[in-house]
Symmetry: C2
Subunit: 403 residues, 2 copies
């Protein structure tokens, strides 16, 4: 099987990871975040619902993959790791009240001489449970455990040219899915019909390349629920005169380009038009300002000034670093575009800028995913950056004709 990146790229990622380990005094890094496992090894499978990990030893050239027996073949074909470094636990460890995979793993780590070292764990990552740490500590009582949350994510924040290329493909898929999704929105159509349309195109991709599943499902809040960003679709029909927020991502080889738009079914209210102008002006100001050397906090200031003059302020962050990921989030959890985040922009950092405004009973989302270039920033997608108005083609127009 062909890996999505050259083996030298994986090795360079591993080298940078080891440098960060050395800085923190970590000799053995236990990676349980599926995006970080993929980033360093190529491993890509829906197996993160059982405990699994990648072990990075600072003085060993190859990682070790440890997971469930039935997933080991996947590690053999989807990674650059030698077969002898792929170790699997029997099925009776899965979802058992007696056996725990971390017992098996700590036993292995002890056997190969890692049981008394400084061990880094991804303390606050999905899928590394409180129990996982507890059992590891019990199984390796002489190891020193350190928090290595976001250690690998810190390497991931600057993309390689190949990663940018994959994100460009994801952007093509995002544009396509948004186009088809929006076309399906009309009064009387159901939310689930539009979600289905979006999913179809996200997954099918183009005739040149297929799409991948996104780390977050398409979100389609409508009507009053536009004030509630994370509700998922229902089978209720869209209503003439209401608004729909569409937030989705194109995904290619696990790389995401998210995109959000607000759609008015029929003529928009003056309020929605105004909100839209405020948000798009703010986005344009941020994208124009963004360049290497600025901080995320600086970008927030640009936004704040831009909306302040219209009397608005925003409680939540404006955006976040984005790229390779698995459910439940496409954000990388490193840099956020908000006050006090002093991450300095560098070329090939990539962000989802989503300066949504939510109120008690409505809201607006218009977003752009952008890349920091050598001199500024550039958008990934080409979808019109505006409030989208859907006039139902089956409506009878004022002159009595079916338009």
């Amino acid at each position: 099987m062909v890996l999505p990146f050259d083996i030298l790229e994986y090795q360079s990622r591993l080298k940078k990871t080891k440098e960060r380990m050395a800085d923190k005094g970590i000799e053995v890094l236990l990676i349980t975040d599926p995006a970080n496992m993929n980033y360093l090894s190529g491993y890509d499978a829906w197996s993160f619902y059982v405990h699994q990990m990648l072990v990075i030893m600072i003085d060993e050239p190859q990682p070790i993959w440890i997971g469930r027996f039935q997933d080991a073949n996947g590690a053999r074909v989807k990674t650059w790791i030698y077969d002898e470094n792929i170790i699997s636990y029997p099925d009776y460890y899965v979802h058992s009240s007696v056996y725990h995979p971390m017992d098996f793993i700590s036993e292995i780590l002890t056997q190969i001489g890692q049981g008394t070292r400084n061990v880094g764990v991804e303390m606050d990552h999905y899928y590394f449970t409180a129990m996982a740490l507890d059992r590891l500590k019990r199984g390796m009582p002489n190891a020193n455990f350190h928090d290595a949350s976001l250690l690998v994510n810190g390497v991931r924040i600057v993309k390689s040219d190949q990663e940018i290329e994959y994100m460009k493909r994801a952007a093509t898929i995002a544009d396509l899915a948004m186009t088809k999704g929006v076309e399906s929105i009309r009064a009387g159509g159901r939310e689930c019909d539009t979600a289905a349309e979006i999913y179809y195109h996200m997954v099918r991709g183009t005739s040149e390349f297929g799409g991948d599943y996104p780390a977050i499902v398409p979100l389609l809040p409508t009507g009053e629920n536009t004030s509630i960003p994370h509700l998922t679709w229902t089978d209720r029909p869209f209503v003439e005169g209401s608004a729909v927020i569409v937030e989705l991502a194109g995904c290619y080889k696990r790389y995401h380009v998210p995109l959000a738009r607000t759609v008015s079914i029929g003529q928009p209210s003056e309020r929605l038009n105004n909100l839209s102008s405020v948000v798009t002006e703010g986005i344009q100001n941020v994208l124009q300002a963004a360049k290497p050397g600025m901080t995320c906090s600086d970008l927030e200031e640009v936004w704040g000034k831009s909306i302040q003059k219209y009397g608005f302020e925003k409680e939540s962050r404006l955006g976040y670093s984005v790229g390779l990921n698995y459910p439940p989030d496409w954000g990388e959890h490193t840099a956020s575009i908000r006050k006090g985040d002093n991450t300095v922009l560098q070329p090939n950092m990539t962000f989802h800028l989503i300066p949504a405004l939510w109120f008690d009973s409505d809201g607006i989302e218009i977003s752009e995913t952008f890349r920091v270039t050598e001199t500024g920033s550039e958008r990934f997608t080409t979808y019109p950056q505006e409030l989208i108005v859907r006039n139902d083609p089956f409506n009878i127009s004022s002159n009595g004709q079916i338009s």
Copy 2:
């Protein structure tokens, strides 16, 4: 907003949960598993990528929902919880290296007098990270923490009639998605095209009711990868003469009915035909035997005897309890159909029986989701329980006609 269940059903679930808390000496239960949060409160949103919880106090009639500010409106409309029991933390707690939501939460719990009690946490559930426990313990140094993993899942294992009704709808969607997915499989078609077709119908549902997103993406291993169950689709074309495993679930209001079939593109090999007979005979034997009073381990024995006479044995479990869930798993992590699992079958328990056989370079999956009835068991889906053979309609048949 109308909740999917009567408020009395939520209260009955809460009562059963409190009985289990009392048995374990737990006074305050912190529920972070999104399925358990939904089960007890109705809360349903894609917000589990940030820390959130439901607090059950043994002596209070209402749970407390604590989550992110922008998600609090969702808790107000999607739960039966009074607005004053919905508490939210500011956005600067999200994915921050300084602030942690569990600091906020432990402060609240202390303020309302829960800081010195016996506190249950879901130690080994997704989304309850090692860091989450660490910060809670730091914030509530005088509380006694207990492992309450699977406490609520234990209540969930027996379904109500309304839950079964939702699973029947999920089954209708599973049958539909399998039918449409299989119809799209032909030599030269791409894996992603079939995945897109499946997703479209899973999400769209029927004209009577819409579908929901499944907790696991459709899995489509093909060719040699049929030995690797959890690889996701690619954009490679299907090959004449090869096999494809299709594993999917219909989902309705977060209730799942999974279904797996193996499809031969063109005439199947004798080996695949044989494997298929062995597996379907085993499934029929298990379904015929299943009835209240038997244990999961008994079912495994039925299966073992059934395949033993053909010289096969199976390393991994045959199935697991299934129902309400969120990514990354539709399994409930309570009962598994395997040796040594002494869970006694009761009416309205529901299982995904997936006695897959995987070998070094091929595999077969045929599965059924079933309900334990008063006297036996019944399948949820109606899709033919056999090896599916796809003869490409565009192939020229032996008599030179396009069939």
